[in-house]
């Protein structure tokens, strides 16, 4: 193992190389671009024995990745924002085909107006597609998740494609130390590719022709069953990875000081680190706070969260995205998970378009929530918008 100071994007590229990916197809989009630039360089220099298809669009990027994977190759693509949205149709097709594929998403806001900074709307938009969706907090975790993604998606109990999300710029372009294992260590840990079928003249397999409504229904059911199985597989892989490389994260949810906490922050992505700092600060002020960091948005860690949160005084969910006309996506799922409990809940929409959210911002929102709970008892506030500082007054006026 070697410590390297790498951007999140380059950390993922290193993992892709170590996984011995055979086909890569990608189209550049900020802030994903430097990831595939690095991969192209690795291929051109002969460091990675793979075919790089420099496609003309993201729609084609995933279609080509799927084609390669269906033909039996370990395949990878990466994108962001509008690119991910443009791919959306092919995401459904890939998951429905049950073909293991790994994709990195450098999460970014969606226009208009143009904004290249972090937000989770792009990846949240893919929740229903049948992809396993993981979110990293650190560059190291983006690297680790990428390696794990091949193992998880290629597990016969799963056979679903997987997204590794890393926050645009905040991880994708930030340089931080990343522990890189040797090729030999990775080869020992990551088995050769497995997949449910290959399409070749020998196999004579036809994928995707018309199915009866009943058969179609049952194929959908089988994806849900695979998602359920994936929870077990994710936890196993996390533990095995820990044994091999010394890093385990706690499976689908990372619990930071949440065991003895009265109030828990539910959050995902890089700003979970800031939330942990906020929890430390809150404890200094006498509030027993913790963080339940969602590592996997899909499959949703229902059991883990219920187990960890159902006896708390309050749960406050921070979403860096919103389902317009409804709530933050993490809030909706968390609220459904806590149905029937006596836990106070608040949903907070913050940090859209890369607006900086700092530990003290999170702390004061939690303090406000704690105050409300102490004052009135059971609180249910599904959405509050943490407006940018210079617009904070506007929020008060419109009563958000």
């Amino acid at each position: 193992m070697t410590m390297k100071a790498l951007t999140g994007n380059h950390a993922v590229s290193e993992a892709v190389k170590l996984a011995r990916v055979e086909v890569i197809a990608a189209y550049p989009i900020t802030p994903q671009t430097t990831m595939v630039e690095k991969l192209a360089e690795m291929v051109d220099k002969g460091e990675l024995e793979a075919k790089m298809i420099r496609v003309e669009s993201e729609h084609s990027a995933l279609a080509a990745t799927l084609g390669a994977a269906a033909a039996g190759a370990r395949a990878f693509t990466a994108t962001s924002s509008h690119g991910l949205l443009y791919m959306h149709e092919v995401l459904w097709w890939t998951a429905g085909a049950r073909i293991p594929v790994v994709m990195a998403v450098a999460a970014r806001a969606i226009g208009p107006p143009w904004n290249i900074h972090v937000e989770h709307s792009d990846v949240m938009d893919q929740r229903d597609t049948g992809w396993i969706i993981s979110v990293a907090q650190e560059n190291q975790e983006a690297f680790d998740l990428t390696l794990q993604a091949f193992r998880i998606s290629e597990d016969p109990r799963v056979y679903l494609p997987m997204i590794v999300t890393l926050d645009g710029f905040i991880l994708s372009h930030t340089v931080a130390p990343v522990d890189i294992p040797s090729q030999e260590e990775v080869d020992n840990w990551l088995p050769p590719r497995r997949q449910p079928y290959v399409i070749t003249p020998e196999s004579n397999v036809v994928m995707g022709n018309i199915a009866s409504d009943e058969d179609y229904f049952m194929m959908r059911y089988s994806i849900q069953a695979a998602m359920k199985a994936a929870k077990q597989v994710i936890s196993e892989v996390d533990l095995e990875y820990g044994k091999a490389f010394g890093r385990s994260y706690g499976g689908l949810v990372e619990c930071y000081r949440c065991d003895d906490a009265d109030y828990v922050i539910v959050i995902t992505g890089s700003w979970a680190g800031d939330a942990k700092k906020a929890a430390d600060m809150l404890r200094d002020k006498g509030v027993r706070a913790g963080v339940a960091r969602i590592r996997f948005v899909r499959p949703w860690p229902e059991e883990d969260l219920r187990d960890k949160l159902s006896n708390k005084k309050g749960v406050i969910v921070f979403d860096r995205s919103v389902s317009f006309g409804s709530y933050g996506q993490l809030f909706s799922d968390t609220a459904a998970t806590l149905y029937g409990t006596k836990v106070s809940m608040r949903g907070v929409i913050a940090g859209l378009g890369g607006v900086d959210v700092r530990p003290d911002d999170i702390m004061s929102e939690v303090m406000d929530f704690v105050g409300r709970v102490e004052e009135v008892g059971l609180v249910y506030e599904p959405q509050r918008w943490m407006l940018p500082k210079k617009y904070a007054q506007v929020g008060k006026e419109v009563g958000l």
């Binding site: 100071a5 650190e138 710029f169 372009h173 930030t174 340089v175 680190g273 700092k277």
Partner: protein, 183 residues
């Protein structure tokens, strides 16, 4: 030890590289570091900020640095455009690329070095611009002590694949390390 830094430069001037080299140098010393570019729609010449953190322990925080311990200014002319000491802690320091040896910031400990001249002397000029970033990291090492000059030179040597560029940039860092003084 926990130090937060902010770099001020212009688009194309290499502030991101400066922070990256700093982070790599810190890594050589067994420390944890972050180098965080702040990206916008800025193009070449526009003011840019880059943040960095160095710590004995792993760093979890990812928000931007608003109360830095150290501010590094790569371009003297930026002082006309940007309040570089905004949020700087009272005991904080400024590391300034300056043609003169006087501090414009009476409230802060300021260190001056003529990195532009050092870069020009070493022929470190790209597309007409002196590249002062490596010199400024060397100067920073002296002024703040967050990393050693040896680590900076090692990080620079590793960063540039061309041996001649690695040499010239290392020389710039060492020269700036030697020349910088409190002003």
């Amino acid at each position: 030890m926990y130090t937060e830094l902010r770099f001020h430069g212009r688009g194309g001037q290499g502030a991101v590289t400066a922070a990256t080299i700093l982070a790599r140098a810190a890594l050589f010393e067994g420390k944890w570091a972050q180098a965080i570019p702040e990206f916008g729609a800025e193009r070449r010449g526009a003011p840019v900020r880059v943040y960095a953190r160095i710590s004995d322990k792993p760093i979890q925080v990812h928000s931007t640095v608003v109360e830095p311990d150290i501010v590094v200014v790569l371009d003297y002319e930026l002082l006309k455009l940007v309040d570089v000491t905004e949020g700087l802690k009272p005991e904080g320091i400024v590391v300034l690329n300056s043609p003169v040896n006087t501090s414009p910031f009476p409230k802060f400990r300021t260190f001056c070095v003529n990195a532009t001249r050092i870069a020009k002397d070493l022929n470190l000029v790209v597309s007409g611009w002196p590249t002062v970033n490596t010199a400024m990291v060397g100067a920073l090492a002296k002024a703040s002590g967050v990393v050693s000059i040896d680590s900076v030179v090692k990080a620079i040597s590793e960063y540039f694949s061309s041996p001649s560029l690695a040499k010239a940039n290392s020389d710039a860092a060492v020269k700036a390390f030697e020349e910088i003084t409190q002003c």
